[in-house]
């Protein structure tokens, strides 16, 4: 127990140690978080009217980001499957980074839901009267928290075992890994069912919503992992095999293709039928009754995704990173603003009130993203030294001398053995 507490203390101290680039990054993120906290306090005082949401468009930027991040969290499993099911040992260590990312993404998603609540001080009501199993939101609460605990357990156990320099026991983590694979699919399916079960919103009331969510998540999540691993490769001396990038790239390419196909399928069903249900899709793609606010967004998303798909097939690493950035942005638009907001326009009574996030809303959103990146950076900051054996229980902790993570630029280093 004492060793565990020491471990936690060392992790805490380690997160404050790094070179000037680390401090600059963390300071930048902290500034954004503080702006976000400030904006959220304003929202607590004045209510959700500080956002751009209205009775007509009652879910907006926050829920859009929540949806996107739940998908990203689910995509951690895309590294787990090749490693544990296909026994790809080379990628073994990288599973941790995927799962740590899942932890950060789930925390971000839960923060987004919390800031979207009108009465966050009544959170405990969820524990006292829980409309399970009828309300899909209750399912979402359960699966998201369960997923967070699963990933914390797996990562925590593996990292702590590395710290203690002992072989992790299969029975303590392997079953949970397999549960996590299924659970990851379920978190995003449940989130999709939140939307697709509503008969009053024909834009969402479609069976293809859940597959679309999963496909776009499995494209955007591994893309983010590719970017993280590229950052690791650039800023630290942690070795990332090229095979990792290629495996992830394959996943992204296939998932993106499926996602675009499903988007096309949705568009066909809406526009060919041309019933009154097409109003929301018309608003999104073409504009409705002269209101066209979302039209440039969705077409940019389609353009970005298509270009990313082309670039992915080129199989070159720098191009791969550009493709990943493009498709993350494209999927964020398509899934966030392009999925949540159009369902509210027009309203079930045919009124059109457009939605744009306000400055306050954007500050809170950026604050939460910064908090998530902060958490992720800290988790990676801790994990890399532990996994590379530089931070173990039998070594004295000298924070100032930790070289593992933030060595100088690789071009200047020599190889010393």
């Amino acid at each position: 127990m004492r060793t565990y507490l020491t471990f936690l203390l060392r992790c805490f101290r380690l997160s404050f140690v790094g070179d000037y680039r680390y401090y600059a990054w963390m300071f930048f993120l902290t500034v954004l978080v503080l702006f976000g906290i400030n904006a959220y306090c304003k929202q607590l005082v004045y209510g959700l009217a500080t956002t751009g949401m209205t009775d007509q468009v009652s879910w907006g930027f926050y829920i859009a980001n929540f949806t996107f991040l739940v998908g990203m969290a689910a995509a951690a499993v895309m590294l787990v499957i090749p490693v544990y099911i296909y026994r790809n040992r080379e990628l073994h260590d990288l599973v941790i980074f995927g799962e740590l990312f899942a932890v950060a993404a789930i925390i971000m998603a839960m923060l987004f839901v919390t800031v979207d609540l009108g009465r966050p001080d009544r959170f405990h009501h969820l524990l006292l009267r829980f409309n399970f199993p009828v309300s899909m939101l209750t399912w979402d609460v359960l699966v998201l928290n369960g997923y967070l605990l699963l990933n914390l357990h797996i990562c925590g156990y593996l990292v702590y075992c590395a710290y203690r320099k002992r072989e992790p026991s299969k029975y303590v983590y392997i079953p949970f890994v397999f549960v996590a694979i299924v659970w990851a699919i379920s978190i995003h399916t449940v989130t999709a069912f939140l939307y697709s079960g509503l008969g009053g919103r024909p834009f969402w009331n479609s069976a293809v919503v859940a597959p679309r969510f999963l496909a776009s998540a499995f494209a955007a999540g591994p893309a983010f992992l590719i970017l993280t691993l590229s950052a690791l490769k650039h800023f630290t001396t942690y070795e990332v095999p090229a095979k990792a990038f290629m495996t992830l790239r394959n996943t992204v390419a296939i998932a993106l293709s499926i996602s675009m196909f499903l988007l096309g399928s949705e568009a066909f069903t809406e526009f060919y039928t041309n019933s009154s249900h097409v109003a929301s899709a018309t608003y999104l793609f073409l504009g409705l009754h002269g209101r066209t606010a979302l039209v440039p967004w969705i077409w940019s998303a389609i353009a970005l995704n298509s270009l990313a798909m082309v670039l992915l097939y080129l199989r070159k690493l720098p191009v791969l990173q550009a493709a990943c950035v493009m498709l993350i942005v494209g999927i964020w638009i398509e899934k966030g603003m392009g999925m949540i907001v159009p369902a509210f326009i027009p309203t079930p009574l045919g009124e059109i009130v457009e939605y744009l996030p306000t400055r306050n809303e954007i500050l809170v959103t950026v604050g939460i993203w910064a908090a998530g990146l902060l958490i992720y950076t800290i988790l990676v900051r801790i994990t890399v030294p532990v996994l590379s054996g530089r931070l173990t229980y039998d070594q004295p902790f000298v924070a100032a001398r930790d070289p593992a993570l933030f060595a100088p630029h690789p071009s200047s280093e020599g190889v010393v053995r």
């Binding site: 000037y20 906290i37 306090c41 959700l48 009775d55 009108g118 009501h125 969820l126 919103r201 509210f344």
Partner: protein, 373 residues
């Protein structure tokens, strides 16, 4: 060492430990920590604008769900609300918890041939139910629909004419239909909304967490959210309140039409029904065969909106046999022509024969099969 070394390089000997803490680094770390705390405090600064009655309150925190409160706990909650209303509005309200009547299930019928779109129902509801005036919350939305369609997308919510009704249009007011299979009740994660035995779907304003899932789920756009602190002028407060209906709400909770249950559960009519000048709105106990709504459901061709969604609303619309709001154009044309031709010597007196009756007889349409054909 003049330069600060954040990283000292690899040590040649594991036992050589560089001193971690110098005075400068201690001061610097301390300054960063204090600066960070100051920044955090500044970030939290807007919270000082919170009004005193919006501060977290232990009583409200521990208050139970409506269905779980004992009568004593309910009285305690009511007393707390009375005090709060008195403090904010300087009026002692008549606040109580009104229970449903036995053997009563409400239904609502709306005669679309009689609604003229005057919107008195909208504003009577606002006057009765203590909604926020700024931003303005209205439970009822009246649509001006062109003739021949029920596609609400073709409706106009924002008509602003010198007079209503507008020719070739009919008016479709929509409010909460208190559906028998309510999607809003299905999706609420904390069971803050449910349907009572008399058919009214109610909200416990002290239990709602403001997630707005119900607002997304409603196919009739009937639910409203308090995005800002409700702004109700003191002189417009209606002191006749009940716990589940029109007591003043706070920011961050949902609200909607509740069939004025503080009135209807005591036999009175909802505000919208009472104010409607044409009698287009009908309300009553559908289980009573002699009530107006039962008569309407039996004798008129009623329909509901968006029946395909399966919500089973208890709000029925119907058209009467006359075309709304205009006289029959044929009769008008005949009357005008008769006045022109015959002056004032035509009439409907029996036995008045002559050219005008033949004229009227001749004006019958070709398909008329009757005695005087």
């Amino acid at each position: 060492m003049k330069d600060l070394q954040i990283w000292n390089g690899p040590s040649t000997s594991a036992s050589h430990v560089e001193p971690e803490l110098t005075r400068r680094s201690f001061l610097r770390t301390g300054a960063a920590a204090i600066g960070g705390m100051a920044a955090l405090a500044a970030a939290l600064a807007p919270l000082r604008e919170l009004a005193s009655d919006e501060m977290p309150n232990l009583d409200q925190f521990l208050q139970k769900h409506y269905k779980e409160m004992s009568p004593a706990e309910m009285e305690q909650a009511l007393e707390r609300i009375r005090n709060k209303v008195e403090e904010r509005y300087a009026v002692r309200p008549h606040l109580r918890d009104v229970k449903p009547m036995e053997g009563v299930e409400f239904a609502y019928a709306l005669n679309l041939s009689r609604c003229i779109g005057c919107r008195k129902c909208v504003h009577a509801c606002v006057a009765e139910n203590n909604q926020s005036r700024s931003p303005e919350i209205q439970y009822i939305r009246v649509l001006e629909m062109p003739r021949g369609t029920l596609d609400v997308e073709k409706g106009n919510h924002h008509y602003d004419r010198p007079t209503v009704p507008n020719a070739d249009h009919f008016y479709l007011p929509v409010q909460c239909h208190q559906c028998a299979s309510p999607p809003c009740v299905k999706v609420c994660p904390v069971e803050a909304t449910w349907q009572e035995s008399d058919g009214v779907t109610v909200i416990d304003y002290d239990w709602c967490i403001g997630c707005r899932y119900c607002e997304a789920a409603c196919p009739y756009w009937a639910r409203r959210f308090n995005f800002a602190k409700p702004n109700l002028p003191k002189d417009q407060l209606n002191p006749n309140m009940s716990y589940l209906s029109n007591r003043p709400r706070e920011k961050g909770v949902m609200e909607k039409c509740h069939f004025c249950l503080h009135r209807t559960r005591e036999g009175r009519m909802p505000a919208c029904v009472e104010i409607c000048p044409t009698g287009a709105r009908k309300f009553g106990n559908v289980l009573d065969p002699k009530s107006e709504v039962a008569e309407i459901l039996r004798t008129k061709r009623v329909f509901v909106l968006k029946e395909e969604v399966g919500t089973l609303p208890r709000f029925f619309y119907y058209f009467d046999e006359r075309y709304p709001n205009t006289l029959d154009p044929e009769a008008l044309a005949i009357a005008a022509r008769l006045r022109e031709e015959e002056g004032d010597s035509y009439g409907c007196l029996p036995g008045a024969a002559g050219p005008r009756r033949d004229f009227i007889a001749a004006a019958k349409p070709a398909w008329w099969i009757g005695e005087n054909a």
